[in-house]
């Protein structure tokens, strides 16, 4: 335990690079069972590999993973990407999305607090929310929190709907700035590859840049627009 703490402290103080905290909230409810969860697993490990391979992103991106399905589980907390091992995800259970989003937001708050207290520069965090169905719990508080943070430019939310059963409008409630996009399970890899490129791009910019704050959003919008041509091809 104490070693972990020291490791984390050293990570944050030896490396002055501005951090990009990204929290990914994944739906692992029963409906994801089968091919979907396999694709998701493959895509997530590709994502981590892509970040690790980029020199700049590997020292600035900090990824956390939360799953909702059979309760809400903190799969990975924020840490240096070299230390993280992505476990295999299994599907099952209901879809407590509200709780998961709240936990994600709490984790992001804590990460920002640690960065700020130690004097580490950081970019405004990203929340990637992926689901293939509707939430089974109450999402109102989560939605409210997200909305206010996004409006104040303290958070960027990427809402992704997997498959045709996901409710786009409900997903879209989480952020007033971006429209959710619908992707098929087989294209999950492509999405995560795009995500890693976007993280790389942000890590190369400088914190507080008015350009970089909108970088993720602009790219996301572009991706949504080009979805038919760029992604599916």
């Amino acid at each position: 335990m104490a070693d972990d703490l020291k490791l984390r402290l050293d990570e944050l103080t030896d490396n002055p690079t501005a951090r990009v905290p990204v929290c990914i909230a994944l739906d692992t409810s029963g409906s994801m069972h089968g091919q979907k969860i396999d694709e998701l697993n493959a895509a997530v490990s590709t994502f981590f590999r892509a970040i690790r391979e980029d020199e700049m992103a590997s020292i600035s991106a900090e990824i956390a993973v939360v799953t909702f399905g059979n309760g809400v589980t903190k799969i990975l907390d924020f840490a240096g990407i070299e230390r993280q091992r992505v476990p295999a995800l299994t599907a099952g259970g209901l879809t407590p999305m509200g709780q998961a989003v709240e936990m994600s937001l709490d984790m992001l708050e804590q990460a920002k607090r640690v960065y700020s207290d130690l004097g580490v520069d950081y970019f405004q965090p990203w929340l990637v929310l992926m689901t293939d169905g509707e939430a089974t719990d109450d999402v109102t508080t989560a939605v409210q929190r997200c909305k206010s943070m996004v409006k104040n430019r303290k958070l960027t939310v990427f809402p992704i709907a997997i498959g045709k059963h996901a409710n786009l409008s409900k997903l879209g409630q989480f952020t007033p700035r971006l429209k959710p996009i619908r992707i098929e399970a087989i294209d999950l890899k492509k999405f995560f590859s795009w995500l890693s490129k976007s993280v790389n791009a942000v890590s190369l910019s400088n914190p507080g840049d008015t350009q970089s704050a909108g970088l993720g959003e602009a790219a996301f919008n572009k991706m949504a627009v080009d979805w038919d041509t760029a992604f599916k091809s």
Binding site: K6, T17, M56, L118, D209
Partner: protein
């Protein structure tokens, strides 16, 4: 007394040597030319009569006396000598009276102005350049200098040739301690060649030591200055030793050799046994004297070929090989190489070096359409074949470029060769290109001990002329004036920092005009002279941003991979491969290896961009550290699509240096000295751009490529700010507070803006990527900059970020710290040349051990002797802290904790707590957001209770209740009581009493009991307490009003109560009532002091009344 006099006299125009009375004028030489009295150290170096013990060295008088005695001795000897020479003198001269020399003393000028061609007195044996090593080993004390040990064939000389002779004659060689220190230092140099050279040298020394043939020459007394400098040491040492034994010094340093030879043969130093100076050349030991006397050039600055063909590295450029005559087009270069140079080189088996680049260029010219060019190239190639046949051609394979494919631009190749080899070899460059010549001369290092010539073939052919002459205005007889440069020659600001760094180096003998000079001043002015003729125009300084025409020009066809573009000469350029893509365009490799081409995205091609690039391309700016556009390219329809620029390589500063793990991977051998040197290199490059009135604008660690601490490249030059074209991008971290939030294309950056970015970049280099305004608890970057709260400034409340940063700050040189304060705290600006000066000071301080060299220091800078060693309270390791800090901690009773433990505790606190918002906000003193331990939060969550802050909790569960008794003087009136307790009391029908009153009551009861039992012991302490209790327990109001309970009025009230009231039912009731009202009234009095006099008057009257009553009663 005498010392002071000497010091004063030293500052006056004329003074006399205290020993021999020779008049000496300004500037005072280091030694008296006549008697060798050392003015600087007040020491005599003529050791005839005795070696002074060190204790006496400190005693000036003793030294002076000894020097005088020595001087008299010299006089005597001289006289004796002159007698021998002229024995016919009949008169026996009496021994000279001390102080009045019989021999005419030399005048100082005579000594100083020796004819240049004869720097010192020559002897017969000097004409023989050969060295008899056997004789040397037998009869001479041999000293070895650092540079000789670093020669490539040092091993051959010292181990194979010298060592056996040393064994035979049971002799040893001497090496100075400074040499060893210097080699140890160089062993760890980042430059592999240097490091391995030093290791080899140390190996040689080890072998000699093991064979017991090496002696360590320790400094007899400390000689100030550079701790690695052996010249001063040897000079002084030899002056002392040369009268005792024969000395031979093996050194590559021409200045040192000259100095010691001069010293050994001057009139001042008498009865010197022989001193020889030798150098290593090609595995041979050679005598310095012939080389010192042999000029390299004649009066017309024409290089004497025979003096360079033997040992110089001669490097030729295409322009010289193909040089045509301007009159008739016949070739001039080829005959020179064929008829003059080749024989000379073959005689000494020395190679001609031709960079690979040149060969490739020649091969390309064969394919051109110009017939003359083809012919010239053929001839050039055939000449080179002749060299090849004789085995005298060396093709420079750019072997020092470890990574990267392909050649780089021609000029950097030459410059790199120059930088690489000039420290160890004599070099001669042959080029007709004026700019290349100037670049090479600019990169000449001073004090290498080796020759560095940059020459060209004049129109009359058959010889080489030194470029420096031409740059000074030399016009050969038949040369027509050829214009080299577009644009007009204009005034060019001199480069002050170059001259200062030159002055800091040792003086070097300069082989111009065939003379040997010592002073650096003539050298500096020559550089100034040819720099002023540098033909690149600085740009104009515009006042306003140009009206940007951002409408894209519609392009008929955008070239891509495999496509073709045309340069401004309509020459085709093939785009071979896409190297990179950015937001603005794509970069392609071209069929010219040294050039890459940037083609803009279609929507980015605008009229303004075209104009800007045309402006930039109009100046042929060749700064090796800047990737400047070379030429515009158009598509086949003649439309502007992009530009050509030199190919550069290197690692991006941001990803190579700006994080500890990355830096360790890229440059594992670096310490702060190389880091500081990198900063100097980058700043110098930016300074060069500023002098041309070009501002980078977006100074960004992603736009700077680094190869090592001396070679960098600044890319993305098309976004530089030039004349009225702004730099349209920027980075918040590098933007000064007054420009935050503005649109970058709307304003022209001033030097003030640029310097802020430069300072930020410098900070981030020294702090390995940390931004200057980061702090603990800081906000976003822009906010911090606007608040201008610089965390390293002790005056601010901000604390520096956690980590080594504070120590890095502490270890910085004070000049740099003060610069950072000026810029980041006070909003001032510091000029680049000042930064460079301070950075150089910092490097020197680190080399001398005054400041830490650690990349990541783990403690602040402390003065020697002002530290104590303490153990950390948490981890028990020893740490060195300053005495002040130790005292402060002790006085506050706080234990010392090392920074890592403190940081770890902070981390623990951060990780084991979470910030939550109080869910109640009941109390006005609500805490709002609090850091709460996670365990507690989990407990609350399990019970489904939200978090409530302590203030609100108290508000909710506790109430302020009045004490029902007020007996105790410590009663506070109100107390915080939990509601549950109040409920209990209510159920028992009890009144709430505060704790203090409860205790008081208990004490009173115990007292009464003891009274009744009669076991009361009247000790003063107890009596006091009882009586105090008695007194204090009754009149609240009186106490409050009068402020004390011993006033007579109080006593009266008490007496009345005890004797009268307690005996009647009404009285008791009154007392009870009073118990309720009294405290309230007392509080009233306490809180409204104005009432006090009123109450006092009231109580006075009542007490008087009572008094009367009681008296009357008594009387009854």
């Amino acid at each position: 007394m005498e010392i002071r006099k000497i010091n004063d006299e030293r500052h006056s125009m004329k003074m006399n040597c205290p020993v021999c009375q020779l008049p000496v004028s300004d500037p005072v030489p280091p030694f008296c030319p006549q008697c060798a009295w050392n003015f600087k150290n007040d020491l005599t170096l003529n050791i005839f009569l005795a070696d002074l013990p060190k204790v006496e060295i400190d005693d000036y008088d003793a030294r002076l006396t000894l020097a005088r005695k020595n001087w008299e001795h010299i006089q005597k000897l001289r006289l004796a000598e002159s007698e021998q020479v002229a024995p016919q003198s009949s008169v026996t001269p009496s021994p000279p009276v001390p102080g009045s020399p019989a021999v005419k003393p030399l005048k100082q000028d005579e000594f100083m102005n020796q004819p240049a061609s004869e720097p010192f007195q020559l002897r017969k044996e000097d004409s023989n350049p050969r060295i008899d090593i056997n004789n040397l080993v037998k009869n001479y004390k041999i000293f070895i200098d650092t540079a000789s040990l670093l020669e490539p064939d040092a091993n051959k000389v010292f181990i194979e040739k010298l060592l056996p002779l040393l064994h035979q004659n049971n002799a040893a060689v001497l090496v100075s301690g400074r040499t060893i220190d210097h080699l140890e230092y160089l062993k760890n140099a980042q430059d592999q060649a240097v490091g391995s050279g030093a290791t080899e040298a140390l190996k040689i020394l080890h072998i000699l030591q093991d064979a017991k043939r090496l002696l360590d020459a320790r400094d007899p007394h400390t000689i100030p200055g550079d701790p690695f400098d052996t010249s001063a040491l040897f000079t002084e040492l030899f002056i002392g030793y040369q009268t005792k034994f024969k000395i031979c010094l093996i050194t590559q340093n021409e200045t040192l050799a000259l100095q010691i030879l001069k010293n050994s043969r001057s009139e001042a130093f008498k009865f010197v046994k022989d001193v020889k100076a030798i150098y290593i050349d090609n595995g041979q030991l050679k005598n310095w004297i012939p080389r010192l006397l042999q000029p390299l050039q004649n009066k017309n600055d024409e290089v004497i070929i025979s003096s360079i063909v033997e040992s110089f590295k001669i490097i030729a450029d295409t322009s010289s090989i193909l040089l045509p005559s301007v009159r008739d087009g016949s070739l001039i270069g080829v005959p020179f190489f064929r008829d003059i140079l080749l024989p000379g080189l073959s005689k000494h088996d020395n190679d001609l070096i031709v960079p690979n680049r040149v060969i490739k260029e020649l091969q390309k010219h064969i394919l051109s359409t110009d017939q003359d060019l083809i012919k010239a190239t053929n001839e050039g190639l055939s000449v080179l074949m002749m060299y090849e046949k004789k085995g005298l051609l060396m093709i420079g394979e750019d072997a020092h470029e470890v990574e990267g494919a392909g050649d780089t631009f021609a000029d950097p190749v030459f410059v790199k060769l120059a930088i690489r080899f000039q420290s160890n070899h004599d070099m001669c460059f042959i080029t007709q290109d004026r700019n290349l010549a100037i670049t090479l001369i600019d990169n000449q290092k001073m004090g290498t001990g080796h020759e560095f010539l940059v020459t060209f073939i004049p129109q009359e052919g058959q010889l080489l002329v030194n470029w420096e002459a031409k740059l000074r205005g030399y016009k050969p007889k038949s040369e027509k004036k050829v214009s080299f440069q577009k644009g007009n020659p204009s005034k060019f600001k001199t480069n002050p920092q170059k001259t200062t760094t030159n002055k800091q180096q040792q003086s070097t003998p300069n082989r111009k005009n065939g003379t040997v000079q010592h002073k650096t001043q003539p050298q500096d002015s020559k550089i100034k002279a040819h720099r002023e003729k540098h033909r690149v125009d600085p740009f104009k300084l515009a006042k306003q941003v140009c009206g940007l025409n951002n409408n894209p020009i519609s392009i008929k066809q955008l070239p891509a991979t495999g496509g073709m573009v045309l340069d401004s000469m309509k020459k085709p350029v093939l785009l071979i491969e896409e190297l990179a893509e950015g937001g603005e365009g794509k970069i392609y490799r071209t069929d010219t290896d040294s050039l890459v081409c940037k083609i803009y995205h279609e929507e980015r091609i605008t009229e303004s961009r075209r104009k800007k690039l045309e402006l930039m391309v109009s100046r042929d700016i060749r700064i090796p550290e800047v990737c400047w556009p070379k030429d515009i390219v158009t598509n086949e329809h003649g439309q502007f699509v992009g530009y050509l620029m030199p190919k550069v390589d290197g690692k991006i500063l941001k990803t190579a240096v700006f994080a500890k793990p990355l830096l360790k991977k890229t440059f594992p051998h670096w310490n702060r000295i190389q880091l500081t040197q990198l900063a100097i290199t980058i700043l110098t490059a930016i300074g060069k751009l500023h002098r041309l009135n070009v501002f980078i604008g977006d100074i960004n660690p992603q736009n700077i490529l680094v190869k090592d601490e001396h070679s960098i490249a600044i890319v993305d030059s098309d976004s530089f700010q030039v004349e009225e074209f702004p730099c349209p991008v920027g980075t918040e971290t590098f933007t000064p507070p007054e420009r935050q939030g503005l649109n970058y294309s709307d304003f022209l950056r001033s030097e003030k803006d640029e310097l802020f970015a430069v300072t930020t970049l410098l900070f981030m280099i020294l702090f390995i990527g940390k931004a200057p305004y980061s702090s603990q608890g800081g906000g976003e970057a822009a906010e911090n900059i606007r608040n201008r709260s610089f965390a390293y400034d002790r005056e601010t409340e901000e604390r520096p970020p956690v980590g080594a940063w504070q120590f890095i700050w502490s270890q910085l040189h004070p000049a740099i710290k003060s610069d950072f304060f000026a810029v980041f705290s006070r909003g001032e600006r510091v000029a680049i040349k000042d930064f460079i000066g301070h950075l150089n000071m910092a490097i020197r301080a680190m080399k001398q051990g005054e400041r830490s060299e650690d990349m990541f220091p783990n403690k602040p800078w402390q003065r020697e002797g002002e530290t104590v060693i303490v153990k950390c309270d948490s981890c028990s390791t020893d740490h060195e802290i300053s005495r002040q800090v130790h005292e402060r901690l002790r006085s506050k009773g706080r234990p010392f904790k090392c920074s890592s433990c403190v940081a770890l505790e902070k981390m623990r606190r951060l990780e084991t707590t979470r910030e939550v918002e109080c869910s109640l906000h009941l109390s006005p003193k609500c805490f709002g957001r609090v850091a709460v331990p996670v365990e507690y939060l989990n407990k609350l969550a399990a019970q489904n209770e939200p978090y409530v802050c302590r203030a609100c909790n108290e508000q909710k569960n506790y109430r302020m209740v009045q004490c029902g008794s007020r007996i105790s003087p410590k009663c506070n009136g109100e107390e915080r009581v939990s509601i549950t307790h109040l409920n209990n009391l209510k159920a028992q029908n009890r009144v709430f009493w505060c704790k203090a009153c409860q205790e008081a009551e208990r004490a009173r009861r115990v007292n009464e009991q003891r009274n009744r039992q009669g076991t009361q012991r009247r000790s003063s302490g107890r009596t006091n307490s009882y009586s105090k209790n008695q007194k204090k327990s009754d009149c609240f109001i009186a106490t409050a009003t009068y402020g004390s309970d011993t006033m007579p009025q109080v006593l009266i009230f008490r007496a009345y109560r005890d004797n009268v009231l307690l005996s009647t039912w009404a009285g008791i009731k009154f007392i009870q009532l009073y118990g309720h009202l009294g405290p309230w009234l007392a509080d009233l009095v306490n809180s409204i002091p104005i009432l006090r006099p009123f109450f006092r008057g009231l109580l006075d009257r009542i007490s008087t009344r009572i008094q009367k009553r009681m008296l009357m009663d008594k009387l009854d």
